[in-house]
Symmetry: C2
């Protein structure tokens, strides 16, 4: 058996995890994956993930890599691991799943070789909350003015010192300068009639405003996407003005930015690489 | 304060409940609601629910009633209770929610006065499971032939002794004769491209077949909807033929019916009453 370097693409529902990073006696995505991969590869596996997502944060396209000597063909790893992750239950899957696994050249590292990331933050505005989306959206009863949020977003795109959008508690970074490549706000308005099959008596009319904030950049500070979201929400509610944003950024002061939006709405969507 | 009889409409995500019925030291929907309503009404509240849904089963329109003397205006109960159920968190709601509360005449009872119910069972067939629907669908990789399922469903509609579709373990019923009013099977096929925003490299083509089984009747035996679903799934997979169904029903033997579909896909949709 020769040593292989394996590159994984992973999705997970973060609801029942204490975040990505391995912790003793806590259920974490990294811990769960390492446990299952160690069984599948029949050797002790430690993986390096690109993004240390917090508890409750989801991923559509997390990436990780590991180097090890093992026998199973790499293309069989996803199926074997996903069966174990599903626990053989009829519901068909676990809450974390390996989308793909491939061999990459020696020295390639999922985290250090990442060139950037995209996150999606999902907000739902409606008179009545949707209990089935409790863990998957930031839900609010107020509606947001998306046009002013888009004005505010323009000031965030680009290379800035984003210290004002950094929460304390993350790992120390050498610099708080980052480049936001793009910040798109997508709005979908649905005039939903919640229709019970028996007829009109049970209908409740609901205007639902679904908002997706899609933000990509070369890297993000601790809680940066959630604080940018909270700031944009405050703009959408009229509590802050788009023109206030440059001064917020220049102040380098977390106090001047908005609140930290809850983890449930956040999805790590994609990691960018030069290769792959 | 005079005694009032209150009629509630309730929705819940059954994922984190050990079913509807109150049990010591277990989180149940009835237990959670009684606890919160007792705070809101400032008196000990015991509620009668229409359907004792199992662990993992959801409700869009569960109904319950209770009689008590209390001060708060009945129309304020939903908001007050829902705030407590949400635990004041930013995500906006709990996993159980009171949709409406109204005063009904003395003697009206949510369970005994119910004339029937509708359940919806949701199935998702796709090459790849959706981890975010793990707790909300019966997921399978095979696709189902809906036309033969509809043929089979015709034999189930009507008044029959449905003993073959009854699981052991429920409460004793005087008779296993029930009337199924309607059994509709709705199919939605989506040719989904899971598109990552950066472009074509990450696209995965997926045909998703969503199936909803909508079944209404005057009453249902223990696990009856889930066993009917399991039987229809086996027809859809070609393991049973539609023409087999009459003999299955006539046999009165659980062994001849299909498997019990998992609870995640089941939703109590509506309860029927003559009044209201």
């Amino acid at each position: 058996m020769e040593k292989k370097n394996v590159f994984l693409k992973i999705e997970y529902d973060g609801t029942n995890f204490y975040g990505w990073q391995r912790q003793p006696r806590m259920r974490t995505v990294q811990g769960e994956l390492e446990q299952v991969l160690s069984v599948v590869c029949n050797t002790d596996i430690k993986i390096n993930g690109t993004s240390r997502t917090d508890a409750g944060v989801h991923a559509l396209g997390q990436q990780a890599s590991f180097e090890a000597e093992f026998g199973i063909p790499v293309e069989r790893i996803p199926l074997a691991a996903n069966n174990l992750l599903a626990g053989g239950k009829m519901a068909g899957c676990g809450d974390v799943r390996i989308i793909s696994a491939e061999v990459v050249p020696e020295g390639f590292h999922a985290r250090f070789d990442a060139k950037g990331k995209q996150y999606i933050y999902k907000i739902r505005c409606a008179d009545e909350p949707d209990i089935f989306l409790k863990n998957y959206r930031y839900q609010m009863t107020e509606h947001l003015d998306v046009s002013v949020m888009r004005e505010a977003a323009k000031y965030i795109v680009g290379t800035h010192d984003f210290k004002c959008f950094q929460a304390s508690g993350g790992e120390e970074k050498e610099t708080t300068v980052r480049t936001v490549y793009d910040l798109e706000i997508i709005e979908t308005v649905t005039d939903a009639v919640k229709e019970m099959p028996s007829g009109a008596a049970d209908r409740r009319r609901r205007i639902v405003q679904d908002i997706e904030i899609r933000i990509s950049g070369d890297g993000f500070l601790y809680n940066m996407v959630r604080i940018i979201t909270g700031t944009l929400v405050e703009v959408g509610l009229g509590k802050k003005k788009p023109e206030d944003i440059p001064a917020v950024i220049e102040s380098l002061d977390r106090q001047n930015a908005g609140h930290t939006a809850p983890p449930q709405g956040l999805y790590l969507a994609e990691v960018y690489y030069d290769r792959v």
